[in-house]
Structure formats: C-alpha cells, structure tokens
C-alpha cells in the first residue's frame, strides 16, 4: 500500500492555486516547515506571510486581507487554530462570513510523539458549531489536494483538516470532489460504515472483513462534515440496519454526533461511534496510537457486529 501525507496534498494545491490566482495568499504561524507551506513560500515569497507564533493575530489579520479581496489560507496546527485562536475563528471570520481558508495540519491522535498538547481531537466539534463555517476532513493525499481547490473556489470560510503523518492512498475516493456531497464507496444493505478523514481506509478494510462474514456493507465517505450530506445519511438509515461512524477525532462533537443527531431526528436507527473516547491522548508512534485508541478496522467491525447481532 502506498502512503502519502494529506498535508502534502494541501501544499501541492496551494502552489497550483498560487499559479492560477494572484489573490491567493498563504499565512503561517512559525510552523511552515511542518505544515509544508514553506513550499508555497519558496515559489511565491511575496505572497507568503509568516506571522510568527501568533495564531490569534494571524486569523484576524487573515480576515482583514479577505475584506480587501484576497483569499488567505491561514495555516497552523489544528489545536492552535481552534483552541488557541477559537475566538478569532468565530468573531473575525465565521461571524462576518469572510473568505478565509483555515488549513490545519497535525490533527488527530496520529500526531504521535508530541502527545496530548498537540493532538487535536476536539477541533471538528469546535469548527462545526460555528455558523457559516464549512468543515472538510479529506481522506488521503489526493482528496486533500482536491478539497483545497474546492475550498478556494467557494466564497466563505472553510476549515480544512489534515494530519501530520503519511496515510494510505485510497484510490476509491479520487476523481471528483464536491463540497457537501458524500462518496458512496461500496453499496450494501445490511449495515453502513460512514467514515471521515484518514479512517476511510480502515472503513474499507472493515467492510471487507464483514463481507467475508457474509454481511452486505455500505461504505460512505463523509469528507465534508459541514454542510453534512444528510440525504446520504438518511438513505443509509432507511436502507440498512444501522450505522457505524469512524473518525480520528473525539466521539464528542464530531462526525459521530452529527450523524446520530440527523438520524435521531429523522429516522432513528442504531448508531455506533468509533473515535477517540472522552480522553486526552499521549505520546507514541502514530500507527501504534491509532491501534491503542481504537481507531482501526477491527474496532469498526466490532461495533458493526454489535448492531448486526
């Protein structure tokens, strides 16, 4: 299996966008080497602004640049954009619905060695509760590239979530990308697995395991958390016996709760959530942490069997 960084998809798209549109600017807060925005800086030094270690000013200043007609991509780690600069995301960007793109890397438990201080498992919840905010969590390198283009091509604030590590390349999610439109990767009638972000690969592996046990499995990849593709969710609720959600994020506030809310209000069916429990992470290897915190295909299978049995 090929592995590639989702943040590289972001960085590649930024350079492509830089060549197409001179209104595209990139900002970073002293993590340009880690977010890979230094690659944009190398090509467009005059359209790159390193704000130093000041995420709050970066996001409000990005709002100022958007007011002047630019398309700023403000980049930092997920935990800093949402937790450190949550007010600026809310008051400077979301409230006036400005055309700022917040591209964040190092999200989820797979940050690895840096530990809980840097492992952003809450950011989807924080971003999706902001009115006007579009929230996209791409599944692999190529989808990250496509999502970044899509974000640039829409008017309004977007939160783009990427990881630190290299993650499996999943050809099933390549091709087209439409914000707010989930991708049905497999059709099935017994149970639905809804994934977001890098857990799409685990979702597909889980589906294979379940199919080998004789179950018909639908896999829906929900790359956009907001606006949520409620039709795809309700179709799954109507046509299969239940839903397992899978995300590299807390089970609180993220995809799982979003899906459960839609289903409970419109067409109740069993929902099981795979995600980080209500706990902080710790240091470790990226891959071993995904095992330790229960974010693997066997965890999805286990939850699915709970519904199916």
């Amino acid at each position: 299996m090929e592995y590639k960084a989702t943040k590289q998809g972001y960085a590649d798209a930024l350079r492509e966008l830089g060549r197409e549109n001179e209104k595209v600017l990139v900002m970073d807060a002293d993590v340009a080497k880690a977010t890979l925005t230094e690659q944009f800086e190398a090509e467009f030094p005059n359209r790159f602004f390193n704000c130093g270690v000041q995420e709050q000013n970066m996001l409000s200043a990005a709002a100022g640049l958007a007011l002047e007609g630019f398309i700023p991509f403000a980049s930092t780690f997920g935990v800093f954009a949402t937790c450190r600069a949550g007010d600026q995301m809310r008051s400077s960007i979301a409230y006036p619905k400005l055309n700022v793109k917040i591209g964040v890397t190092h999200c989820g438990i797979s940050v690895g060695g840096d530990g809980a201080s840097h492992q952003s498992n809450e950011d989807i919840g924080m971003a999706r509760t902001l009115p006007n905010m579009t929230v996209i969590v791409p599944g692999d390198y190529e989808e990250s590239r496509l999502a970044t283009h899509a974000a640039a091509n829409m008017e309004g604030p977007v939160y783009l979530r990427f990881g630190r590590d290299k993650y499996p390349v999943v050809p099933e999610i390549h091709g087209s990308f439409e914000i707010g439109k989930a991708k049905t990767l497999r059709n099935g009638s017994d149970i639905t697995i809804i994934t977001t972000g890098i857990l799409v690969n685990e979702g597909l592996l889980a589906a294979t395991t379940l199919e080998e046990k004789g179950h018909s499995v639908r896999v829906v990849h929900m790359h956009t958390i907001k606006p949520l593709d409620t039709e795809a969710i309700l179709q799954a609720a109507r046509e299969t016996k239940g839903i397992v959600t899978a995300e590299e994020h807390s089970i609180l506030g993220g995809l799982g709760e979003a899906v459960a809310g839609i289903v409970a209000e419109n067409h109740p069916c069993p929902v099981q959530r795979v995600g980080v429990m209500d706990t902080f992470g710790e240091s470790g290897q990226s891959q071993e942490l995904l095992d330790l915190y229960g974010l693997r295909a066997p965890d999805i299978v286990e939850k699915a069997l709970k519904i199916l049995s």
């Binding site: 709050q56 000013n57 200043a61 709002a63 100022g64 640049l65 007011l67 008051s91 409230y95």
Partner: protein, 272 residues
Amino acid sequence: MLNKEEHEILKAKAKDIRREIVTMVHRANSGHVGGSLGAADIITALYYHIMQHDPKNPEWEDRDRFILSKGHCTPVIYAALADCGYFPKEDLLEFRRPGSHLQGHPYQPKTPGIDACTGTLGIGISTGVGMALGAKLKKQEHYHYILCGDGEIQEGQVWEAAAFANKYKLDNVIGFVDRNYLQTDGYSEKVMPMDPLAPKWESFGWKVFEIDGHNFEEIIDTIEKAKNEKQPVMIIANTTKGKGVSFMEGEAEWHGKPPAKEHFDKAMLELT
C-alpha cells in the same frame, strides 16, 4: 490647522453625537455610554475633518478605513455614520433591537460604513493591520484608523498585532489608545497596570504621540504629523470617560450602564 469656523463646526457636531449616544443607549436601555462619550471628539475629528470617505459609496476602494477595535462603543460610531448619511437616522431608534442592523457590537456585513466586525477585544486591531497589509499589496494609499480601548490593550493579541505592523512596515496604520484609565471593573492601573504605555508601543516599533483626546487642534495636527511617519503610529489620547455629561465623567459605573429617565433628562439638559 483648524480655523475658528471649522473648530465651531466640529464642536457642534461632537455635541450632536453625544446627544445621540445618550439617547440611543437610554432608548435601548442597553449599551456603553461612558466610553462612547469619551471617544466622541476623536470620532468627530476623523469623520468630519480627516478621513476620505463617501457615505454614498461605503465600499469605495480608496476610502480611509476606520476600525472600532473597542467594539462596545458602537453608539458613537453609529451616531456619526447616521449623521454622515450612511443610513437613515431613524435606524438609530432600533439600536440593539431584533432585526436591526445596528447590533450591540459592529457587524460589518450589514451596517454601511462599518469596516470590520469587532466586539471581542483585540481582534479589531489585528483585522486592521491585515487590511493595511492588503492595501500595501494593492499599492493603495489610504489610511487605517484604529481605535483601541485602554482596557483592551491588556489583551495579548493587541501586542501580536503591534509586532506584525512593525514587521510589515505598515505606515498606513494610525491607531489610538483611548486612555481614560477606566474599564469595567474600575481604575485600569489597578485592574491591570499598563503604564508606562508610550515606551511599550515604541519598543514594538511604533511612533507614539500623546495628546489631549478632547482637543480638536491636537487631534488633527497629530494625525497630519502621523501621516508623514514611515512606521505605524499610535496616538495615546488622554480622554475622560463620560465626557460632556458631568455626572458621568470619570465614573467607571457608566461604562455599561444605560441611563434611566432621570439621568437621561439631566444629561440632555447638559448637552443642549
């Protein structure tokens, strides 16, 4: 330099604005009267003498920008914008009411003449320096006037913005600290000391002027000087909170307390 006639006009305008402030907050029974009254002379000088702006064309690309970083003082800016003709004066009756574009804190998408959303403290100056950087990129020559509260500058973000303006040599930024030494919880040097203030801004790479924020000549002459500087400028404007209404002057309790009927009548008598 102001001639006598110009000076009289500004004085009269400032009084009109103060009347509107007291009326707006009284009618809404909500809002920030003290800080609005204190900033009325600076706002008057900016909107009626200094700034290049066009109420008929609020989005004019080359207009000077104004950012009310101390976003709670909407009454003073709404009064000035309405009087300039950005929107009908009747709209002021709806201040802080459901459905009104005149929100408690400035909402740029809906209110003509408001250049940025503010309200949580510190974000306005950051948005302002971002706009100023944008203007540099577009090779525009207008100025960005940013009014900060002296309580507001206790926010760390203000100093992030200060460093940023220095890095990008934003000589198109002219800020004010409305130095009235009072904030919600009382005397600002007791709540959180910020003096000596001028050296703080200077050490961040800003040119600092200190003025009487109620003296039109000083305000205007200093801004004209500020325009010639090749660095961002902060004007520390010494003001009196509640200025113009004797019983509100220098009283922290009038930071966020609306005047009831009795106080309203008394205030209006003083402002006629």
